[in-house]
Symmetry: C2
């Protein structure tokens, strides 16, 4: 049993991992490739300690190496789903299923989920990032599910019982999984409509739909949050002073909790979250029966 699974291998996640390890608790870190820091093209100049500017991707790699050197396992994988089962967190990833007593969400913030015209303006007006959260509103309706891999498949399974009018849009990518729905592989040109989404336009034509579920790559942090019923405000996960969300044992740190989107802040968050997790685990040990 993992005492802690940290989702995200950026500054907040790795900083928490290091402090936990130093406190005698070995976390499992699961990180995927994307991330604000890795995507950021300009070198980092304002994080203390580097005499020359460093690329975000260099910093991410250094952090992962730092964690590994201390004996922390860093899995290169994507978490698709987090559920609570008998007081334990169950994490379904692309490759496996893992369990933990506590979870730290340090996934950062996805700045852009789908890079097509209309995405920003219709987000929340017919474009959803979470099937389990919003699927119900589209029962019997025409749904576009955007994605090509396991995460799309997972979202699809949440929607399939609600309507039989589902079309998969892979946005130019090859389909990686089997599905029993029509698939359009042509790249998406734009998403359009009036007060809400009415159509998806690909290079090959226009498709009338009532809702778009985006399930590219892996779920965003806010999608996780919604799934588990984590309280959020203005797109940030709410945490207490120990960086715990409203769900006992589930913590969050870094960009995902808001505040300054700075490495220095994420690293500090990680350190404090490690403290919070440590205290929580200690408390649980003392009072093991559903306390």
């Amino acid at each position: 049993m993992n005492p802690v699974i940290i989702v995200g291998h950026g500054p907040a996640g790795i900083s928490a991992a290091i402090y936990l390890k130093r406190a005698g608790i070995t976390p499992l870190v699961i990180g995927k490739d994307a991330g604000a820091l890795k995507d950021y093209q300009d070198p980092v100049e304002n994080y203390y300690g580097f005499s020359s500017p460093v690329m975000g991707s260099f910093l991410i790699d250094s952090g992962v190496q730092q964690a590994k050197r201390l004996g922390i396992k860093v899995m290169h994988d994507a978490v698709l789903k987090i559920t609570l089962k008998n007081d334990l967190f169950v994490l379904d990833t692309l490759q496996t299923q893992v369990q933990a007593k506590t979870v730290l969400l340090a996934t950062g913030k996805t700045r852009k989920a789908l890079d097509v015209s209309g995405f920003s303006s219709f987000k929340g007006k017919g474009i959803s990032l979470c099937a389990m959260c919003d699927g119900y509103f589209y029962r019997g309706k025409r749904i576009a599910v955007v994605g090509s891999g396991r995460y799309m498949q997972s979202e699809l399974s949440e929607l399939a019982h609600l309507t039989d009018q589902i079309t998969i849009f892979t946005d130019g990518k090859p389909l990686e999984v089997d599905v029993n729905h029509p698939v359009i592989e042509s790249p998406i040109v734009r998403i359009g409509g009036d007060d809400r989404v009415r159509f998806v336009e690909t290079q090959e034509g226009v498709h009338q739909i009532d809702g778009v579920f985006v399930a590219i790559g892996a779920p965003s942090s806010i999608a996780f949050a919604s799934l588990l019923g984590i309280a959020t405000s203005n797109g940030n996960v709410d945490v207490d002073e120990h960086f715990m969300t409203n769900i006992p044992g589930l913590f969050a740190a870094g960009d995902i909790v808001g505040g300054k989107l700075q490495i220095a802040k994420a690293v500090y968050d990680g350190m404090l979250a490690a403290d919070g997790i440590r205290a929580y685990l200690k408390h649980k040990e003392k009072a093991p029966s559903g306390d």
Copy 2:
């Protein structure tokens, strides 16, 4: 006129300097050699971003280079005294005098001022680190002033009018300044007494005294604080949420304000203090007349 002088070139000071510079305010940084991080012999393993452990001294040097590369002047000097004159801070250093609209104290914490037996037990019981704070209680008494350089001379000038029974102890160091008082250059073996200090023992003999003023190297952060009347609690400088002390325009960040004595925390403090200083300077510009 300097908008900001930052005293200390460790993680908190340099982090603040970088963020100020990025915000269009060029600070002057004054740093001296000592510092908890530089003195720390084990490599740093828990500060995010370094794939291999780094020495504290390496980190300090990297930070200074980082600041200089961004066009920030880092003076290698020691601040002896900070005074307020007509709404401006005047800083006397070993080499010069500089003025600023705001000051950030990021001097860290001196872990040990004098490494002799009895220092810890008699600190506050006849051993003082601040002549201006405690000198008055020793008028007409026998005073030992420990030090050999400019800072000792500066402290001596605060005490000379209070008593004519002052002896300088250089603790084995060669005297670097002229003084009109007896000087004992023999290394100090211990400081002793009963409920308070009664004697200083050097390798050459025992000297009866009533009080010891330690003025080795440069003043500690708490000595600065006491001089200026900055509020402290439990040996930490009190600051508000903008990292400002009770003296308008005087800020403090890093170890000196307490909390976790960690690089990650100092760096984060520095970032927030830069914000606080920026807001303060902006406010001052709008309301220049003694507001």
